[in-house]
Each structure stands twice: as structure tokens, then as C-alpha cells.
């Protein structure tokens, strides 16, 4: 039987990820921030084989949940409903939507670490955040095909990183491990990876070169200062 995947967020990113998940053979549940009725038409039309539902039902029925809501709303998630789940964090700080939020751009920790600290009993892995939703739509390719693009993954627990990697693979992209959740900051806005739609080799290089970027230096200095204090 096909595995069930829940997606929280029925916006641009959530619906594109839903399309990829359906194509990959998952049973897909999509939930918005409100009632099922509010997103029914959207899901029915943009992701016909997916099932529109509520966040509560999606969390109850799926073992793997993708977070595709605005990062600024992560505190509206239910830690108890997500307990024990593999949680794929595809969210980014986007000031146009989230407003000024210094807590979400803290150089001392990645936004996924914040999410993981809130969802204490979930297995949080960061993925699908750095590649634009239009590239996710346009670029999936079968395994081994020339020109296949890559998606970076950050996570602390190997078992769940592997689960995320399988998802990335089945969605049509090469998974590239970026390091633990703390290294998720290398995939955030301001990094050379953010917006990157490139193959695995190039993505690895961009991840490794983070310290050379402006944001990389900022993060490095802030963390060094914190260590000294």
C-alpha cells in the first residue's frame, strides 16, 4: 500500500509539492490553516488526486508531514499532533509575508532548529526550502537522467534524513546531505544555496562555500562571539 504523506499549507509551495508527491505515488493529504472547505476547490483543481483535509486529520493519518506554511506561523502548529512524525521543514523566513522577525533570522541558529525545539517530539528534517516552487514544478527528472537537479537536506537523525532523501529522490531530484539541522542555515535566505536550481555537484560546492558568503561570515562571527562569552 502506498505511503501517506501530509502537507500543511495549500499555497504555491504546498500545491506544487502535492503534485510531485502524487506523481511519486504517495497518498497525499493537504491541509490549509483553516477548514477543509476553504481549500477544497484549490486542492481538487491543482492537485486532483490529493485529499483536502484539516491539519489535525493530516497529522493523524500520515507518518510524514511536510511543512509548507509561512515560517512566521510555525507556532500555530500542534506539537502533540506532530509527535513521533517525520516532519519535513520546507519553510523560510520571508519578510514580505512574515514581517520583521529577528527571531527567525538569528545567526546563532537555523530556523529549522527553532522549529525542532518547538516540535520536541517530532523528527525534523529540513528540505525543499531552497529551490523555488516554479523550479520544483519545471525540473523533476527520473533518477540518473542528465541535468537532474538537487535538493539539500539537513537533519540530526540519520534514519529520518534517509526518509527525507527517499522523498526527494522520488519527487525527481538528487538528495544532497548538508549536515545536521544546525547546518540548515547554509540553505536559508542569504546563502548561496537559496534559490539555487543546480545539480548535486554544484549544490555541494555552494554548501561548502557558505563561509565565504556575506551571510556566512555574519553567522560565523556571531557564533564565534557567542562561544567566547
Amino acid at each position: 500500500m502506498a505511503e501517506t504523506l501530509g502537507i500543511l499549507g495549500a499555497g504555491k509551495l504546498g500545491t506544487v509539492l502535492g503534485q510531485l508527491a502524487v506523481a511519486a505515488g504517495y497518498n497525499v493529504l493537504i491541509a490549509g490553516s483553516g477548514s477543509k472547505e476553504k481549500i477544497e476547490l484549490t486542492v481538487e483543481t491543482l492537485v486532483p488526486q490529493a485529499v483536502p483535509t484539516t491539519a489535525a486529520v493530516a497529522c493523524q493519518q500520515a507518518d510524514t508531514i511536510i511543512l509548507a506554511l509561512p515560517l512566521g506561523k510555525y507556532l500555530t502548529l500542534s506539537p502533540s499532533a506532530l509527535a513521533g512524525k517525520t516532519v519535513i521543514d520546507a519553510m523560510n523566513y520571508w519578510w514580505e509575508v512574515d514581517g520583521p522577525r529577528p527571531d527567525l533570522t538569528d545567526p546563532h541558529r537555523s530556523s529549522s532548529e527553532l522549529v525542532a525545539a518547538f516540535l520536541k517530539k517530532s523528527h525534523v528534517v529540513k528540505a525543499f526550502n531552497h529551490i523555488g516552487y516554479h523550479d520544483l514544478f519545471d525540473e523533476p527528472r527520473p533518477h540518473g537522467q542528465a541535468g537532474r537537479k538537487a535538493v539539500a537536506i539537513a537533519g540530526d537523525e540519520q534514519k529520518y534524513v534517509e526518509k527525507a532523501a527517499e522523498l526527494v529522490e522520488r519527487f525527481g531530484f538528487d538528495p544532497v546531505y548538508a549536515g545536521p539541522l544546525a547546518a540548515g542555515i547554509r540553505m536559508e535566505p542569504g546563502s548561496a544555496v537559496f534559490g539555487a536550481n543546480v545539480a548535486a555537484d554544484e549544490l555541494k560546492k555552494l554548501l561548502a562555500d557558505f563561509e565565504k558568503t556575506k551571510r556566512g561570515k555574519e553567522v560565523f562571527l556571531a557564533r564565534k562571539k557567542a562561544e567566547r562569552n
Binding site: A10, G11, K12, T15, V16, I39, L41, T42, E44, T45, L46, N92, Y93, W94, W95, E96, V97, G99, G132, H134, D135, F137, D138, E188, P189, G190, S191, A192, V193, F194, G195, A196, N197, R215
Partner: protein
């Protein structure tokens, strides 16, 4: 498929600052006058629409589209005078109605309001609105605006502005209805909302293949069916530059369209568009850069794919020279538009 002769073609500008003949950046005031000149040329060449977008940033001169459109109104004859967009969330719907009804009077019925939430949010702090009310502001104001369009006596109350109790708003239009559209950036919720009010939609397609939006067109139609509202053929907007050769257009697009996208992307932490990504956008994505034939082929394919009834070319991104902007407009009007109609009629 819409009759190729009936497809509407427009030009969009935010009032980007061009360079002059001496290769010097114009002042913002000059940039505004340049748009008026361009609109006059467009009108003479038979282009259907000029749409001007509202911004509150240094690289764009137009913060008050309807004032520029009023200037254009008195110097043109047939061209539709649209905004693109009016950021309704941080404006007062009553004022928006009044200003555009005035423009409609000045232009003998050629005004069109294009409402949007705006992809920039500078206008929120500028006018004292809270970004956290983003959804509520738009939802309430579009509701009020749709009521104002009836041009009758209005009673309305909400959280985001003073209530209206049996008020009439002036001037009334001669047609009895101000033309109105909603522009959406691809948020499904926005598409459904526009359909709920029966407003035609303009899709801003600024990256990736137009194909991604075919399901949004379907969503718009299905939503309208559900709500029992009317639909109109969709419009879409994309960036482009047209030159005599593909090479020249590519050079100009790389220098100016890409540069302006990179500058905006930078603020959002987005990695600069690479040469490969740029070439991909021109080839399969949503930058219309090339010779008239190249652009016409690409545009015809996109119009067909989306079943669109209207296209608007954002023609002057970045610091593109005024002469090159005029050349784009001339080639668009005299070569591209007739060629697109021809290609669409062939199939």
C-alpha cells in the same frame, strides 16, 4: 481558443528609471514624463492597454499611477488606462473609486482599476498599516470596492475603515461601471477570491514556464462556476525586451531585466540568477527577450497554452535606455502583435 484578432495586448511599467541619450540616468520626474511619451507612442501604434504599477521605492518613479494615467488620458485617444497594480490593502477603497472614476471621466471611459495585494509591502508602514493584517485588509477592502462599483447608495461596515451608512460616492461613471480586474501572483487563494467577486484576473508570471499556470486558469473557471459568477478570458503579465536581433535583446535583458530581478531578489535573500537560469528563462520560462519573430513565437505558444485573452509586456525593467524602450514598443506594436495573431490563426 479566443479569436486571435480579439486578443488584447498591453504594456506595463512601474516607472523604472531609464538612461537618456547621454547614457545618464534620468531623474524620477523625467522617468514619469518618459512613460507619458511611451504611452502616446503606444496609443498611436494601436496597442490596447497601458498599465502602470504603484511602488514606493527609489528604483521606480510611479507611486501614483492614476495621476500619470490622467496625464496620458488627455494626450491619447484609444488606449485603455490601467493600473498594475493598485495596492488596495494599503489604500482606501472609496478614494480608489473616486480617483479612477475621475480618470474614467477624463479619458471618456478608458480607465481600468487593477487591484492587487502587491508583491512589495513598503506601502504598509508608509501609510500606517500593519503587515499582520495583510489578509484582513485585502479581504475587507475588496469587498467594499466591489460594492462601490455598483455606484449606488452604500451601507458597509468593517474593521479596517470607517463605516458607510447610506452614502453615495462621486463621480458616477458614464458606463455605470468602472472596469476592474484583480492581479494575482499565483496564490490559489487569490484566484478563488477574484472569482468569488466575478473579477477578471491577470496572472503575474515572472518566472518559470507558463505551463504551471494552466491549472490556475482551471481553478479560476471552476471557482467562478461554483460561485455562479462570470468569467472573462485571463490576462497575463511578463517581462521582456524586443530588439532587432536576438543577440541584442539577450544582452539588454541580461543587463537590465536580470539586474532588476537580482536587486529585488537580494533583499529577499535569493541567490542571483545565473547565466544558465537566465537562458532557461528566455528559452522556456517567462522572460520575453529576442527579435520580433522569437518573441512572437514564444508569446503565441504561451497564449495558446493558457487560453489567454490578454497579454501585457513589462517593457522597461531596470535601467534600460529610453531609446531601447521605445524600440521595444515599436517592434511590439508593428511586428510582434501582428505576427502573434498570424501564428495563432494558422493553427
Amino acid at each position: 481558443m479566443i479569436d486571435p484578432q480579439k486578443i488584447v495586448f498591453g504594456l506595463d511599467s512601474f516607472g523604472d528609471i531609464p538612461t537618456d541619450d547621454a547614457n545618464k540616468l534620468m531623474t524620477q520626474a523625467q522617468a514619469i514624463r518618459q512613460v507619458v511619451t511611451e504611452a502616446k507612442v503606444a496609443d498611436e501604434l494601436g496597442i490596447d492597454v497601458i498599465a502602470l504599477g504603484e511602488h514606493h521605492r527609489s528604483e521606480y518613479a510611479i507611486s501614483s499611477p492614476e495621476t500619470v494615467l490622467a496625464g496620458i488620458a488627455t494626450q491619447t485617444k484609444q488606449i485603455t488606462l490601467a493600473s498594475g497594480v493598485t495596492v488596495l490593502s494599503s489604500d482606501d477603497p472609496v478614494r480608489v473609486y473616486e480617483r479612477f472614476a475621475t480618470l474614467d471621466a477624463l479619458s471618456n471611459g478608458r480607465a481600468e482599476v487593477v487591484l492587487g495585494r502587491g508583491s512589495f509591502t513598503e506601502s504598509f508602514p508608509l501609510f500606517g498599516y500593519d503587515l499582520s493584517d495583510y489578509d484582513l485588509l485585502f479581504e475587507e477592502k475588496i469587498n467594499l470596492f466591489s460594492r462601490l462599483l455598483e455606484e449606488g447608495t452604500i451601507t458597509w461596515s468593517g474593521k479596517t475603515r470607517a463605516a458607510l451608512d447610506g452614502i453615495e460616492v462621486f463621480p458616477k461613471t458614464e458606463k455605470g461601471h468602472l472596469a476592474t480586474r484583480v492581479a494575482v501572483g499565483g496564490s490559489p487563494e487569490s484566484v478563488v477570491r477574484a472569482a468569488r467577486y466575478g473579477f477578471p484576473i491577470t496572472l503575474a508570471i515572472i518566472g518559470g514556464s507558463p505551463k504551471r499556470f494552466t491549472s490556475y486558469v482551471k481553478l479560476y473557471q471552476k471557482a467562478a462556476q461554483k460561485f455562479g459568477t462570470q468569467t472573462a478570458p485571463i490576462a497575463f503579465h511578463s517581462h521582456g525586451v524586443i530588439a532587432d536581433s536576438d543577440e541584442e535583446a539577450m544582452t539588454l535583458a541580461w543587463e537590465h531585466i536580470r539586474k532588476s530581478m537580482v536587486r529585488i531578489g537580494n533583499e529577499r535573500g535569493w541567490v542571483p540568477m545565473s547565466r544558465t537560469q537566465f537562458e532557461q528563462e528566455v528559452k522556456q520560462g517567462s522572460i520575453y527577450a529576442g527579435s520580433p519573430e522569437t518573441v512572437a513565437q514564444k508569446l503565441a505558444a504561451a497564449i495558446r497554452q493558457l487560453g489567454a485573452g490578454r497579454f501585457e509586456l513589462a517593457y522597461g525593467a531596470g535601467e534600460l535606455a529610453a531609446t531601447k524602450r521605445l524600440r521595444t514598443i515599436e517592434l511590439y506594436a508593428t511586428k510582434v502583435i501582428p505576427r502573434v495573431r498570424e501564428i495563432l490563426a494558422e493553427e
